[in-house]
Symmetry: C2
DNA sequence: ACTATTTCGTCATGGCACTTAACAAATTAG
DNA sequence: CTAATTTGTTAAGTGCCATGACGAAATAGT
């Protein structure tokens, strides 16, 4: 229904969008919101110097944003400045719009509401294996959770401004249709048709939302990195210049099928020796001589911690394969860092030594830091909710409603 | 001195540039120029509908551009429209600014001047091996060629608006310093200091300029592709959404050191089994049992054409290795196509079958077209000159002088 | 305590960029 | 030859930000 927020502003053809005064106004409203959201409570004067407009101009912008309920005036502020009249502190409203984020995982459904300040204001989770279930009943349950969270938010005086859903599968660029979700065994599921409408809807890959969460919430992470996450497949998401690189069809980031040993075992994808054959969940479990059961990642972590040599070797080998695949990616993309997220962050202690070893040996000089995500398994959910929040910050006028 | 033109418009930090009315004017001037440059002679009314402004607004913009000498009024035009007053055709000026492009190759120096219409208006080449020569005498010769071309352009009433130089090596992002050019055996050469000033200078990798040439001049190539070129090393340049992906330090595109067979022969880069060990010029010559001499690419093409089995096998194997490395890249980036440029375009007939074979087998479904560049060896030079032209189109107000 | 200084937010004025609306000019259709 | 259509220009209008001046609120100095 609505275009993905993060590619906005780019015209469809070579000619960008026309530039009118209203567009200028909208962009400046957005700049004010971003400045206040990113750099804590700020006075009008501080905003003005920060975004390069005059105090007078910022005053009118702020007035409009306060009237729309997107900014709050907190009252006089004790400023860092020593002398002069204190400014009136402005903060993004904690009682205006909220972004609704949802995640359809293989073993859970979760929904949350995040306000403009980034606080989680409502939350609902339903555990339960969704593998092999038909889309309709799953999305019906998801709808119930969504209603629950929306109602809770509304009771708190908040207004849902949009809905973003993270799914473990490929989503065709610009649509709400899941083309293929191997772990759920879903194909061509149109979320727009199966969920009650009413809110602007965005559906995207969980790896993408996880990377965006890292970009927006991770600390110290620059806006140029490669985010690797593994659930059952291995997905990567590339953030370049603070923007997600989606690829022509939206299928970018298929790290799992990068060839590692080109003559290696055949892969369902048609190739041979894909990374997934060495570092995918199934492959690691097999190499560790463990049976696939529930909470397999937890099991691996537990055994590794206990010192199980088979498990440790399996993880070491997986890390080496990851390191080789990442060497290619780092050579191609020159990111500032690589971030391990999702299940990988939990297994990082045993993956990292061999991973970093391969990477460093093969990219001498081109030092690329490897970091572990601090967001844990909440990344995709938070990224989804925050994507709605960002959409509001990116166009406050359009989202004021 | 000036920032690379293609990353412009992006603020230094999270907060973008402020939006003032003057900025709006500049952007709209740019839109007019782009519309006229891209879509042939156009009337004011046609420009207006195309860029979404009113005829009145476009009229004042066009007046200003004509006064600056960037647009020419050709006179009444026979329009496609059946009825109504004919418009007055506008075209970008053929007598205004020109972009000066230069290329420092291993066996030649070349310089050209391209006007806003994209026509090459002056040109100078000096053949001769530059391998191992010190930077100073080479750049002195280049300076002589530059003067020659600039003078010729000036005699034709043209005004050099900027200088862009393509070099076979790595250039640190945003600088004019060649960090490392292995084939010339140069390190940390500051072009800005060694060339006479006076013009805004940009120095960049030849692969990058080759890709930009493909983007701007290639026909049918979309603005999402992976451009592969091989001189002695193998470089790639990624164009995403019409923008060059440079990487954090400007070192993106090092396809030559993507691991292909991780246990393969050691590579000077410190890794093992890098693509360059299989498809690099030296490796191919060795496999073909040919001695390195002058015009080695030409020799390979000639022998392959004559049916030399050793050469053909060597090229077949190189193509397969390329296909494997590209499989990784395609999986990661999901480009619309892969374009073979530079020396590869000449050898394409013998590389393509195995290359496409590997690529197609390993990326079933994810069809990614492989194309051969039509620009030949002129790509980098033309890309450099056109980058200056684009800078003028991108900010006509700033470049009017 | 009182004044000078500094900084903040607002207001009135002005300039700039685009839109709207009207019009003359140039061409085709009937 | 008139009506219709399209172009380019002009004049008035609106929106948005800059400029400069002002009162308000706090600190520093005497």
């Amino acid at each position: 229904m609505t275009a993905p927020p993060h590619d906005a502003r780019r015209g469809t053809s070579g000619t960008p969008l026309p530039d009118t005064q209203q567009g200028m106004r909208r962009r400046n409203l957005s700049r004010v919101m971003h400045a206040v959201a990113a750099h804590g409570p700020l006075s009008r004067a501080a905003v003005a110097t920060r975004i390069g407009l005059t105090r007078a101009a910022v005053s009118t912008l702020v007035d409009e944003l306060i009237r729309s309920g997107l900014l709050d005036e907190l009252g006089p502020e004790r400023p860092g400045n020593k002398v002069g009249r204190p400014g009136s502190a402005l903060a993004v409203s904690g009682s205006g719009p909220v972004g609704i984020g949802a995640e359809v995982g293989v073993d859970h459904l979760s929904v949350c509401a995040v306000d403009l300040r980034g606080e989680v204001r409502a939350r609902a989770v339903r555990q339960g294996d969704n593998r092999g279930r038909a889309p309709e009943p799953v999305l019906e349950e998801l709808g119930a959770l969504l209603r629950q969270v929306s109602d809770e938010a509304r009771r708190a005086g908040l207004r849902p401004a949009g809905l973003a859903i993270a799914v473990p599968g490929l989503v065709a660029r610009g649509t709400e249709t899941v083309v293929r979700a191997p772990n759920l065994d879903w194909q061509d599921v149109d979320f727009g048709a199966l969920l009650p409408g009413g809110l602007p809807l965005t559906v995207d890959n969980e790896a993408n939302f996880g990377a965006l969460a890292e970009l927006w919430l991770g600390d110290g992470v620059p806006h140029d990195f490669l985010h690797v996450s593994a659930e059952i497949g291995i997905g990567a998401a590339l953030v370049v210049d603070g923007r997600l690189l989606r690829g022509t069809r939206g299928f970018a980031g298929e790290l799992g099928h990068v060839p590692v040993w080109p003559d290696g075992p055949a892969c369902p994808c048609g190739g041979r020796g894909c990374l997934e054959q060495y570092a995918g969940e199934e492959a690691v479990l097999r190499a560790a001589r463990l049976d696939p059961g529930a909470d397999r990642v937890g099991l691996l972590a537990e055994r590794a911690e206990q010192g199980d040599e088979d498990v440790r070797r399996a993880l070491r080998d997986a890390g080496a394969a990851l390191g080789i695949a990442l060497t290619g990616a780092v050579n191609l993309l020159d990111p500032r860092s690589v971030v391990l997220g999702g299940a990988l962050s939990r297994l990082a202690p045993w993956l990292l030594p061999s991973l970093e070893g391969e990477l460093r040996r093969r990219t001498a000089g081109t030092t690329c830091a490897v970091a572990v995500s601090g967001l844990g398994s909440d990344g995709p959910l938070l990224g989804a909710a925050h994507s709605v929040v960002r959409a509001v910050l990116d166009d406050p006028a359009g989202a004021a409603a």
